[in-house]
């Protein structure tokens, strides 16, 4: 068999596995999505008992949603803050790594350690530490710090990869053309690393938005959305919860699509409009 034929077969095989994987990934969400549209008498499992928007209406009107509103808002704000902080810190950290300072290897591994530590222990350990220091845990202080420390290694690795592909000669060219370091960063580096920055921001947002383990002990009395969902699951399981899940997933999808469209427009601009 010619090696090209063989590699075509490999391509098919890998394609099948990939599609299988995607199905597997999306199946739970699809189940939730379907069940959230079940009829008034529908339960939390199949069969559906009719199709309606009942649970969404219920969600909108009932006080259950009011219970969920504050944690949702907190989660959203926390995720935004975590995202912004992660972007700033990972750009700075990756920029520092480019300088190859003394002990940069150790710094690299210490940052990556955050990826390995079990979340529940990190959260618990941090809670003990803050208690020792006499600091009251809250979603916008202690939980925020823990979330950032969780998202940072991901953002850092992303930015490191981006800077690895970045040609420092471009900055140097700007410097010899009269740009100061700051101007060179603003006019040359920043626009070119922007896709990576957006990726980092997404990481920061989504890692914080659905973080449960690290939030459990650190958010104090006012919980975030994942904590509220978990509490509701313990209390009473209705398709309303599915409606909430579907609504938040749809939100995320919209945000991601907007980013993707942004990327696409940018790539087209870089290639230049066809003349």
């Amino acid at each position: 068999m010619h090696w090209k034929t063989r590699s075509r077969l490999t391509g098919w095989l890998l394609g099948t596995v990939t599609i299988g994987f995607l199905l597997f990934q999306w199946a739970p969400m699809f189940t939730m999505f379907t069940l959230s549209f079940s009829g008034e008498n529908g339960g939390t499992t199949f069969p559906m008992n009719g199709v309606s928007l009942h649970w969404y209406r219920n969600l909108w009107e009932a006080d259950l949603f009011d219970d969920f509103k504050p944690p949702m808002l907190r989660s959203f704000l926390l995720a935004l803050a975590c995202s912004a902080t992660t972007v700033v810190l990972s750009v700075c950290a990756a920029q520092a790594m480019r300088g190859r300072f003394r002990g940069n290897g150790l710094y690299f591994y210490l940052l990556l350690l955050g990826l390995m530590a079990p979340g529940i222990l990190v959260g618990f350990g941090f809670a003990i530490l803050t208690r020792l220091l006499g600091i009251e845990g809250a979603w916008n202080t202690t939980a925020y710090v823990v979330h950032v420390s969780w998202a940072l290694p991901f953002g850092f690795l992303t930015m490191l990869a981006v800077f690895n592909r970045f040609d420092p000669k471009l900055e140097e060219a700007a410097l010899t053309l009269g740009a100061t370091r700051l101007t060179a960063f603003r006019r040359i580096t920043w626009p070119l690393i922007l896709p990576g920055v957006i990726g980092t921001a997404l990481f920061g947002f989504s890692l914080s938005y659905d973080e449960y383990a690290r939030t459990l002990f650190t958010s104090g009395s006012d919980g975030t959305l994942p904590l509220a969902v978990m509490a509701q699951l313990d209390r009473q399981l209705t398709p309303e919860l599915y409606a909430i899940g579907t609504a938040t997933t749809a939100m995320s999808l919209i945000v991601i699509s907007l980013c993707a469209i942004g990327f696409w427009l940018r790539a087209r601009a870089l290639r230049g409009s066809p003349t």
């Binding site: 040609d167 000669k169 471009l170 140097e172 060219a173 700007a174 410097l175 010899t176 053309l177 009269g178 740009a179 100061t180 370091r181 101007t183 006019r187 040359i188 626009p191 070119l192 601009a269 870089l270 290639r271 230049g272 003349t275």
Partner: protein
């Protein structure tokens, strides 16, 4: 030596005083001194890794020298950042900004000078027209050919009319036919603009045809600098002689000096080489000298003092000249170039005597290591 001891010569565009740059234990530039007069074309020539780019980067301020002073237009700039030096640099791979149109890149330097928008637009249009890339103004680097990129990079560097333009192998990426045209254009451009060019290359044809002043570097040091014809006709070290094409470098031991002429004993025999301005070396010390391949004479008469018996191994025809590779006693290889239009007079395998007149032998300064 401190700066205060040395008179500043304001008419120099660039002066390097004993520049030294180390990377860890490795010395990339060692004791490099150079003076560049107003509007000069300087070529930095040397083999790969000899420190040409590093020297250039020190001038640009992209590297900080460990020792030495850099003066641009008589002003000490050793501690100044690149954006405060009156220079521009053209990078080897052009380093065009991928996210900017040609017009935007070329205007970048003017933007940095905070020129008004209308003035920038007018100047950019003028420069693009001069470089014949006006029709590319709205393109991005990804849509340009190699030759077009080179023009854009040059236009971008020259738009602010800096005092010095640093060029790192600026035409290395172009194909041969394009190179000659571009070389000619750049030389004309340099003369007209009065900007000093510091041109890094490892191509000696470029260096000797373009430079007003050629600097030959090796192992982080300057081996020799001077006018192209000076360097070509009088290589001062065995390295320079060997690096420049068409030299026969012969190694031997010093003999007696008589009337300013040194006897040199080599594997091929004893030859007489003029000392010129060199001090007579101690008898028996190792040294080298060179003879240009086209200066050899076939079947020399009795009045020619230096002669060698050789056997021709191969003959290569280059059009402009015909190169003979010959072998002498002890396997020493000698090259002999003959004007290409002359009929071939030596066949492969033939034994022949070649010679050269006294003043064509060039004694080298440093003994071979």
């Amino acid at each position: 030596m401190t700066l205060a001891d040395v008179p500043v010569i304001p008419q120099l565009d660039l002066e390097l005083r004993h520049i030294r740059k180390r990377y860890g234990d490795f010395v990339a530039v060692n004791d490099v001194s150079l003076q560049v007069g107003k509007g000069q074309f300087i070529c930095l020539l040397g083999p790969s890794g000899c420190g040409k780019t590093t020297t250039l980067r020190c001038v640009a301020g992209l590297e900080e020298p460990d020792a030495g002073d850099i003066l641009i237009g008589g002003r000490e700039v050793t501690g100044e950042p690149p954006w405060k030096r009156d220079i521009a640099m053209m990078f080897q791979d052009f380093a065009l900004f991928p996210h900017m149109t040609v017009a935007k890149q070329v205007g970048f330097g003017l933007e940095m000078l905070k020129k008004p928008k209308a003035q920038i637009a007018a100047r950019v249009a003028e420069v693009l027209k001069a470089f014949e890339i006006g029709h590319l103004a709205e393109r991005r680097p990804a849509q340009l050919s190699g030759g077009q990129k080179q023009r854009v990079a040059l236009a971008r560097a020259m738009v602010t009319e800096p005092r010095i333009l640093l060029l790192d192998e600026p035409i290395g990426a172009l194909d041969y036919s394009l190179r000659e045209t571009v070389m000619l254009e750049l030389k004309t451009l340099q003369k007209r603009s009065g900007i000093s060019f510091i041109w890094v290359t490892h191509d000696q044809n470029e260096a000797f045809s373009l430079g007003d002043h050629v600097v030959v570097m090796n192992h982080a040091r300057i081996e020799q600098q001077g006018r192209p014809d000076e360097v070509l006709s009088r290589p001062r070290t065995a390295f320079v002689a060997g690096f420049i094409q068409g030299n026969n470098v012969l190694e031997g031991k010093a003999g007696l000096v008589r009337d300013g002429v040194l006897e040199v004993m080599t594997a091929l025999g004893t030859f007489r080489v003029p000392l010129l301005d060199l001090a007579p070396p101690a008898a028996g010390s190792a040294l080298s000298f060179s003879v240009r391949a086209e200066r050899l004479i076939e079947r020399p008469g009795e009045d020619v003092p230096n002669r060698i018996a050789l056997r021709c191994i191969t003959v290569e025809y280059f059009g402009a000249f015909r190169r003979h590779v010959l072998e002498g006693a002890g396997g020493t290889v000698v090259k002999y170039d003959q004007f290409g239009a002359l009929p071939q007079s030596i066949r492969e395998g033939e034994n022949i005597v070649l010679g050269w007149s006294l003043d064509n032998g060039v004694l080298h300064r440093a003994p071979p290591a």
